[in-house]
Every structure is written in C-alpha cells, then in structure tokens.
Symmetry: none
Subunit: 200 residues, 4 copies
C-alpha cells in the first residue's frame, strides 16, 4: 500500500472540496454507500477524479470527512440532558441513541463507515478521533457531573462506564444480534449503575 501524501494544500480549491463532500453525502443517501463510486462523486460534484485522488487516500476518508464537515456545522449544542437524575437521563439518551440507529438516513452511512473502518486502521484512527471521541466526551461529561453530585461511586472509572453503556448497544446494532428495545436500554443502564453507583 502506497502511503497517501497530500500535496501542499495552500493551492487547494475550497469550492471543489465542498462540492465533493456534498455530492458524497447526497449519493450515500440516494443509492447507499456500497454503490457510491469515486466516479459518481466526481461526476456529481463536477470535478475531475484526480482531484479526489489528490486529496483523499480512499473513499472511506471522503465519507468520513463529509460527515465530520456536517457535524462541525451544527456544533455547540452537543450536550447531554442533565436533570439531576442520572438514571433517567441515561435511559433517555440510550433510547434516543437507539432510535437514531434505527433511522435509515443515519444508519446507512454509519454502517458504511464501519465497514471500511474494520479493514482500515488508518481510517479507524481518524474515525475515533473525529467522530467517536467527541461523542464519548459528551457522555463522560455527564457522568462526571453525576459523580460530582454523588450519584456515582467517587472512584468510578468513567471511561469504562461509557464503554459498558455503548458497547452492548453498538454490538446489537452493528451485528443485528438482538432487537433494540427500550427494555434492553433500561436494563443496561440499571446494570451499569449498579456497578458504578455510590454503594459499590
């Protein structure tokens, strides 16, 4: 595998970049990730194929950047609810997350990205840094608040806790190993809180 070497970006055409990211998002929504081709993106964006190959090492990175760009525009409002009741808040968040996962418009591209991530460590790194890390940080912030409020054990490992909340959910969704029901979300939250609650 040849390492991708991005050229000097000073001369980069920002209009083309935006057109490519937009076309990518549109195409994924229209025909599904697996059928999105570099040629189609270039054609839709009114751009030469070389312009894509010049700046991105693979389709996965184009897709990733197209989502990062989308998220960055709506940034700021990303924060979990904090009613003071950690259990209620977590259950709500988990249910909302599950619903998001069930939305085709959301599901398709994320599944797509995960497909690529599995076999591309470089893309995985970029994904974790650009998309997963911010999401996790939001969760950890809420947990930190709860711990401060005495609703969690003072020595609760919040990183592990976040992973225990998201991991089982994610697995069921990605591998379709089980249904995403509210009961599942509630049971998961309750179990995690038993593990990290103040009594533990």
């Amino acid at each position: 595998m040849k390492a991708h070497k991005a050229p000097n970006s000073a001369r980069r055409n920002e209009q083309s970049r935006q057109a490519i990211l937009t076309a990518t998002r549109e195409l994924i929504a229209e025909v599904g990730y697996a059928k999105v081709t570099i040629e189609a993106i270039a054609s839709r964006a009114g751009v030469g194929k070389q312009t894509i190959y010049r700046w991105w090492p693979s389709k996965g990175f184009v897709v990733l950047e197209s989502f990062v760009a989308l998220i960055e525009t709506e940034e700021g409002a990303v924060e979990l609810p904090d009613t003071g009741d950690i259990e209620a808040d977590l259950k709500l968040v988990m249910r909302e997350t599950m619903e998001e996962f069930a939305t085709p418009a959301f599901e398709a591209p994320i599944r797509a990205l995960n497909t690529e991530i599995i076999n591309d460590p470089a893309l995985a790194e970029a994904y974790n840094e650009k998309l997963a890390a911010p999401t996790d940080e939001v969760m950890r912030a809420r947990l930190r608040s709860a711990r401060h409020a005495g609703q969690l054990s003072p020595d609760a490992d919040l990183d592990l806790m976040a992973e225990m909340l998201y991991g089982p959910l994610y697995q069921r969704w990605l591998l379709r190993s089980g249904p995403l029901t509210p009961e599942f979300a509630d049971g998961l939250v309750e179990a995690v809180l038993r593990a990290f609650g103040p009594r533990a």
Copy 2:
C-alpha cells in the same frame, strides 16, 4: 436482489465444495478478505466460477461456511473453565478471548465476516445462528452454573450479562477504539460482577 435458490444438492460434488472452502480460507489468510475475489477462489480451487455462484448467494456466505466447516470439525471441546470462582474464570476467559482477537490468523477472517455482516442482514442472521450463538451459549452455561452456586444474584439477567462482557471488548477490537489490555478485561469483569453479584 434475487433470492438465491440452491438447486437439488443430490448431484453436488463434495470434492469441489471442500476445495472451494479450503481455497477461501487460504486466500483470506494470504491476501486479506478485501482482496479475495470469486475468480481467485475458483481458480485456486480448480473450479468453475459457476459452481460457486450455483451454491452460494454471495462471497460472505462462502466465507461464513468455510469457517463453520472449520469449527464443526473441532466441535465438542467447547466449554468454559469452571473452577468454582466465577471472577477468576471470567477474567481468564476474557484475557484468552482478547489474545485470540490479537492473533492475525484469527483476526483476519473474523474481521472479514464482520465486514459483510454489517451490510447484509441475511448473512448476519446466519452468522449469529451458526457462529455467535454457540459461543454465547457456552458463556451463559458458565454463568448459569455461577448463579446456581450463589455467586450471582438469583434474578441476574444472564443474556444481558453476557452482552455486557462481550460488547465493550468487541467494540474496542472491531473499531480499534482502545487497546486490549488485561487491565481492561479485569476492570470489565469486576464491574459486571458488581452489577450482577449476590448483593445486587
């Protein structure tokens, strides 16, 4: 998508079938799943392409069957250790699972399968039934034994418990979102046992 209709298997050539499954496994190990093509499998197996298309609906199913075939041959010995100490046993199992995940010979094909599963519900179902279910059942058997021994709460949800053990581990591995260290395994087991232990 046209439904795959397997023809009458009475006339099926078992030698060809075995050659295909073996070639598939070899090729995945040699060049990685993404670069394995139907043509390469056919060529390696000394088989016409049509013979593959006749009996399997997609590459994913060939891969899946090649692993199922492998596992079925070594069946029987699959059982978790039971020293009477559930915490020690689980920690051991989790560490061993992690090591397995780190073995290239094991990692490559499982990643391969997961790639296909993500975008193919039918394959996901077959995967969960043929490969995941047996593994989970082994885990649940050990947990049932522990509950019977009073090391777990009488009303512990063993299905959920198994998912909480495997989910975070699986997520870290598949998405490379964190390192697979013994400390992580231990922390995970301890937290899950706090959630489902006799006091809870």
Copy 3:
C-alpha cells in the same frame, strides 16, 4: 511491451467481432482516426472493452483488420486493366490511384493506419502482408504480362519497377510534398518505362 497472446479462438463470438469492425469503420469516418478510442468502439459495438483487448493488441490492428475485412468482401475483381498498351494502362491506374488518395473516405483511414505503422513494426508487418502485398501483386501481374508481350525488357526487375511507380506517388501524398497532378503521374510512368522498356 507485452506480447499479445490471442486466446483460443474456438469460443470467439463472431457477431461481436463483426460489430467491432463495423463500429471501427464508422467511427473513423465520423470523427477521424485520431479521435477514435477503444472505449467508443466498444460502446458503439455494444461490446465490453475487454473483448477488444482480448483479441487485438492495439487500436492499429483493429483498424487494419476492419479494412482487410472490407476488402476481402469485394475480392475477386481486383485486377488491373490490360489493353495491351502498358503505358496507357499504367497511366490510367496511377491516375485512379491518385484520385483514390484524394477521396476523404479513403484518405482518412489510410493516413491513420500509416501513422500507427511508422512506430509499430508488428503492425507494419501485418499491414504489408494483408493490404500492401495484394495490391503490389496485382501490379506485378500486369507488369509480367507486359514483359511477356515484349513491352518491357526481358530482365526488368518488376519488384523494383513497382516500387518506383508507387514510391514517389506515395511520398507526395503522405508527406504532402507536392501536388498529385495527372502530369506527375504521366511523367512518372514515362520515366519508369524508359528505365525498363525493351530498348534498355
């Protein structure tokens, strides 16, 4: 340069072959040789690109074969006039040849072929064998008849004679180094006959 290895032609699809040769001729007539692409030929012929690459080593050979095919269909009538007067016959033939050279429908593809021949010895060989040799043989047959009739010296080198008739004409045409006038043709014939006539 990789040697072109035509596969076993037993399975060859004759319909596709004809469609390709026809499409090639049409495209050359429509847009000119330089702008004819393999992709366009394939598309026009309703054929996969690989089918062209499988059977021909380069665009030049496709073009060559398309003309050979054309000529072979009208075969049989190819013979020079023989009125008994070699000078008159040659002058007529040379003038007709010049007119042919001036016909766009004829000129374009032959120029095209010559372009390729210059830099491709293999194509040159095929061209000389398939297109040039038959034409030359027809000329030599007429000269042989004239020699037999005593209108040429008994030891006249007919091969050289043919080359001296066609060479200057060809050069003027290909390199546009001079006009193709009847006077030029007549002068050329007269000079060649002085060189190879019975008195010489």
Copy 4:
C-alpha cells in the same frame, strides 16, 4: 481547431526556449516519440507547461523546431560529393542515406516527425519548407551539375528524378515494406539513370 496565435515575442525568454528544444530532443532519444509528453518536456526543461503552449501550437512543432535548430547550427557543409561520375556519386549518397535511416539516433526523431506530419498539413508544410526542401535542393544541385556535364539528358526533369530516387527508398524505410540493402540502392540509381540518361 483554434488557430495558434504566437504572442509578442519581444518578451520571450530565450533560455527557456533552448531548454525546451533540448529537453525535447533528449526525451525523444530516450523514450521514443510516442511516449514524449508535454508535461515531461516541461518538467525536464524546468519550465511551466504554459510556456510551451504559449509558443508552440502542438507537440509536432516543438519537435520540428528542435531539429531545425539542431541542423541550423551545423549548416554550410551540406553538399553532395561531385567526382564527375554521377552514377558513382548517387550510389554513394543513396547508401549513406540508407545508413542514416538505420541509425537509431536519426531514425527515432524522423519517424516521430513523420507521424505528426501525416495528420497535420500545417506541420507538413513547415517540414517540407524547413527540412525537406534544403535536402532536395542539394540533390538537385548535383543533378544539375551532371546534366551540365552531359551525363543526363538535356531535358531531364530533375525534380521528378529526385523524387524517383528518394521515393522508393523512403517508402521502404517508413513502412518497412522491404530491406534497405546496397543492391536495392544500386538498382534504383541504375534504373533512374536509364530513364534520364543522355540517350533517353
């Protein structure tokens, strides 16, 4: 086809011009004309592509100018031998010409030019004027001398004679329609002299 309009040459950078012509000659010698690209010339010459497009209408003209430039530097010594024996002199010249044609360093670029000339009338004109005409004139000068010496018929058409000497030779070479042997050269000269000799 857009007419090429050379800009005001007052500001033209002579160093760049020379670098381009030199790079062109070197590249033709190294990789062959067909594989020479404008980009490669610009890169080798340390020049922007635009500088080439600004001053030359096509690759052919760059090649042509690169040879004209070369020839102009060694000009003056161009004259045919004149021993008084036209047959011996012509045979010598023809043999030398053939040898030149067989020299790769000479052959490659001339073939290259001819490739372009075939399909580009404007270039053909420039070629005939700049390269062919001087060569022909040298030949005609020698023939004029022979006619004056009574070795040729007083009314011999020297232009036609020159074409009859070069034409067959050129055709054999360009189309590889036959071997370039001394016997061929001698036979050609003898035949032409029979046609244009004093007796005729």
